[in-house]
Amino acid sequence: MDMNATLGMSTYAGIAGRLPPGDIVASLALDWPGFSLAADLRLPGAGVTALFGPSGSGKTTCLRAIAGLEANCRGRVAIGAEVWQDSAARVFVPVHKRPLGMVFQDARLFPHMSVRANIDYGCKRVPAAERRVNLAEVVELLGIGHLLDRKPARLSGGEKQRVAIARALMTSPRVLLLDEPLAALDEARKAEVLPYLVRLRDEMALPMIYVSHAMHEVAQLADHLVLLERGRVLASGPIGAITARADLALAQTEEGGVVVTTRLGLRDDGYGLSRLDFASGAVWVARIERDVGAAVRIQIAARDVSLALDPPSRSSIQNVLPATVVARTDDERGRSLVQLDVGGVRLLSRITRRSAEQLAIAPGLAVHAQVKGVAVLG
C-alpha cells in the first residue's frame, strides 16, 4: 500500500493552521501530603513545549491538570480565549469536553478493541463538523497501516505508542499532551518512535506539550523548555536560551550543552562534510543527507568547547568561532562554566578553573571558541 504516492506530503495542511493561535496559560496550585505544586505556565500556542525535570518535580501533574484529570487542582487553565478551568469563577470544563489529545506513558489502548476501533473511538465522538484530521494521513504519518486489524496485545511497545498518538490525533485536538511517551520503552523502541514524533512536529502544525525527564528527547523535539523542580517553575523560555544558562543545573551535567537551530548552508561532498550556518557563525559537521537550506538542530556540549585567546593557526579542530565572554561561573570542583556570545547565539564552555584563571576569562573578553564536537539531532 503506497500511501505516499496517493496522498503526497503537501496534504498535511496542519491542524492549528486552521485555528486561531492561542497561548496556553496555566496557573496551577495543588497540595498533597509531601508535595505541593505552584506553577505559572505560559506556553506558546505553536511548536513543542517540553516540561522537563526530575521525577517528583510535578511535570506530569501539570500536564494532567491542564487535561482536567486532577480534580483537586486549583487555578486557571486557558487556551487562547477558551477557558477550561477558572477556580475563582467556579469554571471547570470536564475532560471529555476539552478539545485536547493525550498520550499516556503506558499507551492505554483499549485491550478489547482492535487498533482500528481504538483509533475510531475518539474520532466518532467528535462532531463531524469539527473533524479536521484525515485518517489516511495519520495512519501514513505514523506508519501503522499494517497494524489496523490487530489487537493491542499483539503490538510492540513502540507500535502501541504510535497507535496511541494516532488515536489522540484523530480527535482533532487543539493541543496534544504527551506524558513521557517514550519512558516505558527500551532504547531500540525509543529510537523507533522518536522520528515519528519529529515528523509529527514538522508536518502537523499542532502545539504539543511534552513531558520528559530525558534531555536527549527534549533536545531533539522541543522548541520551548520549562524546567520544573519540586512543583515550582525554575525557568521557562526558548530551548536555545534555557540550555545556554550557566546558572541552571541543566548546564552542570556532564552532557549539558546548548541546542542551536541552524540551516544547512553548504555541502562539501568531496570531504564528506556539511556546513551548518547560524546567526553569524557556522560549524562543519559530517555530511548530512538533506537539502541545502533545511533546518538542522544541533547540540554543542559545554565539555566540547575549549577556549583560546589567539586564533589557533595550526590545529586539527575545524570549528573555531570568535566569541565574547558573557559570564563565568566557577564551581567547587575546580571547573569553570563560561557563557559565550557568538553573534547573538549563546554557547557554553566548560574548562578547568586553572585555565580560566591563567587566561583571565572575564565578561567582555574576546576569545576563540574551539568546538571539538557537534551532535546533530534528528
Binding site: H96, Q105, R108, F110, P111, Y121, G122, R167, T171
Partner: protein, 239 residues
C-alpha cells in the same frame, strides 16, 4: 412392586424446578441491576461510608439465613415498615409469596454479585477511563464502552455466583416464603421435604441433579474465564 408409584420426577418436582429457575433468573437480573452501581460506587469512592456499606452488603455471607429471614419477615410483615408501605399502596403482602421470595433472595445473594464486580472494577483502575475521557467519552459512555467490556470476567462470575446462590438457598426461603406448592416450594425445600419423608430415592434425583448442574455451571465459568483471559484486569497494563 412399584408399578403404581408416580414417576421419580412428577408434577411436584417439575413445579419446583420451574419455580427455582424463575426465582434464580429474576433474582440474578435484579442483582445485576442493583449490584452494578453499588459495586462501582464501592470501587471508586473515597467516602468514609465505603467501609460501613461494604460491611453491610457482605453481612449475608456471615449471617445465618434464618437471622436474615427473620428480620426480612418482620420488615415485610403487616407490622413492618415495608409491609405497611405495601399495604398503603395497595400492593398486597410480601411474606409467603413469590415476590417476597425474590426480594429476600436479592438481599441474601447481593454480596455474591457485588464482590466480584467490585474486584473487577478495581482491577481496571483509572487508566482506561482516563484515556476514554481524553477521547471525548462522557462518564456514562465510558462506563458502557470501556468499563463493562473490560469487567466482562467479573460480570460472568457475578452472574454465575448470583444465579447458583439463588438456586441453592434454603433457610431464607423457608423463613420468608414458607413451603407452599407452586408458589414458594423451590427445589431445596422439596428435597428437604422428601428427606423428611424418608423418600431418599426422589431426594437423590433432585440433589444429584443439583450437584451436576452446579458443577456444570462452575466448569463453564472456568472455561469461559480462560478463553476470555485477554480481558482480565491484569492485561490492561499500567505504568
Amino acid at each position: 412392586m412399584n408399578e403404581t408409584v408416580a414417576p421419580l420426577i412428577g408434577a411436584a418436582e417439575w413445579s419446583a424446578i420451574r419455580l427455582t429457575l424463575e426465582l434464580a433468573t429474576l433474582t440474578t437480573a435484579l442483582l445485576l441491576l442493583i449490584g452494578t452501581p453499588i459495586a462501582w460506587w464501592l470501587a471508586r469512592t473515597r467516602s468514609w461510608l465505603k467501609a460501613p456499606i461494604a460491611a453491610a452488603v457482605s453481612l449475608p455471607i456471615v449471617l445465618p439465613p434464618t437471622v436474615l429471614g427473620f428480620y426480612l419477615l418482620l420488615l415485610m410483615g403487616p407490622q413492618g415498615a415495608v409491609g405497611q408501605a405495601m399495604r398503603s399502596l395497595g400492593l398486597g403482602t410480601l411474606p409467603f409469596t413469590f415476590r417476597g421470595l425474590v426480594i429476600a433472595s436479592v438481599v441474601y445473594s447481593l454480596p455474591f454479585v457485588v464482590q466480584p464486580l467490585q474486584a473487577a472494577f478495581q482491577g481496571i483502575g483509572d487508566g482506561p477511563t482516563e484515556a476514554a475521557a481524553t477521547l471525548r467519552a462522557s462518564p456514562l459512555d465510558r462506563f458502557f464502552s470501556v468499563v463493562i467490556p473490560l469487567a466482562g470476567p467479573g460480570f460472568l462470575a457475578a452472574t454465575v455466583l448470583g444465579f447458583a446462590h439463588a438456586v441453592g438457598e434454603f433457610g431464607i426461603v423457608l423463613m420468608v416464603g414458607g413451603n407452599i406448592p407452586d408458589k414458594t416450594r423451590v427445589l431445596s425445600v422439596l428435597i428437604y421435604n422428601e428427606v423428611e419423608a424418608l423418600d431418599y430415592e426422589r431426594a437423590h434425583v433432585l440433589a444429584g441433579g443439583m450437584v451436576g448442574f452446579s458443577f456444570a455451571v462452575l466448569l463453564l465459568m472456568t472455561l469461559l474465564g480462560q478463553r476470555g483471559s485477554w480481558m482480565t484486569p491484569g492485561a490492561t497494563a499500567r505504568g
